[in-house]
């Protein structure tokens, strides 16, 4: 096996890996969304919409710190 062949196999493996990583991330985003206790990603949009200094944070740093 010469270097060009090795590169080609390596290239194919890399493409495969990247596809798997990409689709796993999409799956992760959409599956944890539904589960209870997982992130509801869409609520994070409210960080921009309710951004007055008196508004309640979407996820407060900690309850005791918040007084």
């Amino acid at each position: 096996m010469n270097i060009a062949e090795l590169q080609a196999y390596g290239y194919f493996a890399l493409v495969l890996l990247l596809v798997v990583v990409l689709y796993s991330y999409i799956y992760h985003l959409y599956s944890t969304d539904k589960k209870k206790g997982g992130h509801d990603y869409e609520k994070f949009s409210n960080m921009a919409l309710n951004d007055d200094i008196g508004d309640a944070p979407v996820t407060p740093m900690s309850d005791d710190k918040e007084k």
Partner: protein, 497 residues
């Protein structure tokens, strides 16, 4: 005093708003002068032969690019950071004397750098590396300014009340990290006073002069890895940060898909860094590297369109706002231009297309539909949104905004259409040959043919500058317009007639 309710503190944001406008005017004015110099060479000596050194194209060109990139755009990024950062982290700069000091120091040192850059470039002191013209003492000062920006970002994050970081913050952090890495590596240089030549002489040249640590093809590779990613982390990433905050806020609509914003973020981060090689197609760079640059440029369409479509779909069901609000118009056209130029760029990066497009005016056209249509529109929209909240007054004139929008849109369209025609004409003429392989045209033949398009480009740029002056006037007058109540500042910005 003790019982005064806590408010966001926009002192530093206001300072950078000022430099955004001032340096925008300077950079765009020089751009218009340059455009007319190309169309009418007499403009090169407009102030007479004695001052020709300071008015000729080659002396002014880096001043234009550096003023709009590192002056206008960077100031816009910082003005919005010192505004958006506080709001989405729900913490005021007034709560930290340290961060307030860092913010002000950031601005003051930035001003020092601006003066040094303008003076040195006017005097012709340059490293001759495109977009990296500053000599080593200025580079060191730039690094200090950048570190202060980082201290400000991570300092504010450190005292935040909102645990999660909004998507815009991710993009601001990426801007900071990306530019930090690119700038350091591309500006590795050795002051000539430390060097010794073959004859044993040392202390060569002026104390400020330096040479790049890289040579030949390596220098070109590092330069375009930097150059293209300056587009990524200066013109794309922080501007996406802005639109992810300002469009939802101004329209009152939640981002269409927050998940898509996360996915496009990682996509953009991974893909962008590999695309710089497309600047070196058909050069001495290894062929596989050129191919990689092309491929990654084409893949780049996906994350770019992910963000742009996400923005346009945020307006779903609310399109009447585009008709009603000039501020929304700026942002929607901005994201449309973003889609457009992120399709155009990959097309130009395809090797066979690049064979025609390389070194032609089409590239210049591409840069400007991105910067004028996307970066410029988004920064102006951001400042329009900020102005009523920062000055607590309504925007001075809505009709002036509408006129500005149409004048500038016409300007951008004239700019890129003329450069398309000019670029493709140029590319075809350079390649044309007879049956024996003799070139069909000489260089001056192309110059003659391109003249009208250069004149149209100058007019397009002039219209954009006129619009920018209208923007500056509108913001200036806003400072004395009708005061507004807190309740008027929820979403849509209040505007006078």
């Amino acid at each position: 005093m003790e019982n005064r309710p806590l408010e966001y503190d926009y002192t530093v944001a206001k300072m950078f708003m000022f430099t955004t406008i001032a340096l925008g005017i300077v950079g765009m004015l020089i751009g218009v002068i340059l455009a007319f110099e190309l169309a009418f060479p007499g403009v090169n000596t407009i102030l007479g032969q004695g001052l020709a050194e300071f008015t000729n194209y080659s002396r002014l060109r880096p001043l234009h690019t550096d003023a709009v990139i590192f002056g206008f755009t960077l100031s816009g990024i910082w003005a919005t950071w010192y505004y958006v950062g506080q709001r989405v982290l729900k913490v005021s700069m007034a709560e930290s004397g340290f961060l307030m000091f860092i913010g002000k120091l950031h601005f003051v040192l930035y001003m020092v750098v601006v003066v040094a850059v303008v003076a040195s470039l006017f005097l012709g002191i340059t490293t001759s590396k495109e977009y990296a013209e500053f000599e080593w003492p200025i580079d060191i000062a730039v690094v200090v300014v950048w570190v202060l920006f980082g201290v400000s970002i991570f300092g504010l994050i450190g005292i935040r009340r909102e645990k999660s970081l909004y998507i815009s913050i991710w993009y601001y952090i990426a801007t900071f990290l990306g530019i930090a890495m690119l700038y350091l590596f591309n500006n590795m240089e050795i002051p000539t006073m430390l060097a010794t030549n073959a004859a044993g002489e040392s202390g060569i040249g002026n104390w400020w002069h330096s040479v790049s640590m890289y040579a030949g093809t390596n220098d070109a590779l590092v330069e375009w890895w930097y150059g293209h990613n300056a587009v990524a982390f200066g013109f794309t990433v922080p501007i996406v940060a802005m639109i992810y905050y300002f469009l939802p806020k101004e329209s009152g609509q939640a981002i269409y898909s927050y998940k898509l914003s996360l996915l496009s973020f990682w996509g953009l981060m991974f893909v962008y860094l590999w695309a710089g090689g497309h600047h070196l197609l058909y050069s001495t760079v290894p062929d596989w590297m050129q191919t990689m640059g092309s491929i990654f440029s084409v893949i780049l369409i996906l994350p770019s369109w992910g963000s742009a479509i996400n923005m346009l779909l945020t307006m779903k069901g609310e399109w009447q706002q585009v008709a009603a609000s000039p501020l929304i118009k700026f942002m929607v056209l901005g994201s449309t231009f973003y889609m457009f130029s992120t399709l155009e760029g990959p097309i130009q990066a395809i090797k066979s297309v690049n064979a025609i497009a390389h070194f032609t005016d089409w590239i210049v056209g591409h840069v400007h539909d991105g910067t004028l249509g996307w970066v410029g529109f988004m920064i102006m929209a951001a400042l329009y949104h900020m102005a009523p909240r920062v000055f607590k007054r309504e925007i001075y004139s809505k009709s002036l905004m509408v006129s500005q929008f149409w004048i500038q849109t016409l300007g951008v369209v004239l700019y890129f259409t003329s450069m398309w025609i000019a670029g493709i004409t140029q590319g075809m003429m350079w390649r044309a040959h007879d049956e024996f392989g003799n070139l069909a045209y000489s260089f001056i033949d192309t110059v003659t043919v391109l003249h009208p398009y250069y004149a149209i480009r100058g007019v397009g740029g002039l219209l954009y500058l006129v619009g920018f002056l209208m923007f500056a006037y509108n913001i200036y007058k806003t400072m004395s317009a009708r005061p507004v109540e807190e309740s008027e500042l929820q979403n849509a910005s209040p505007m006078g007639a």
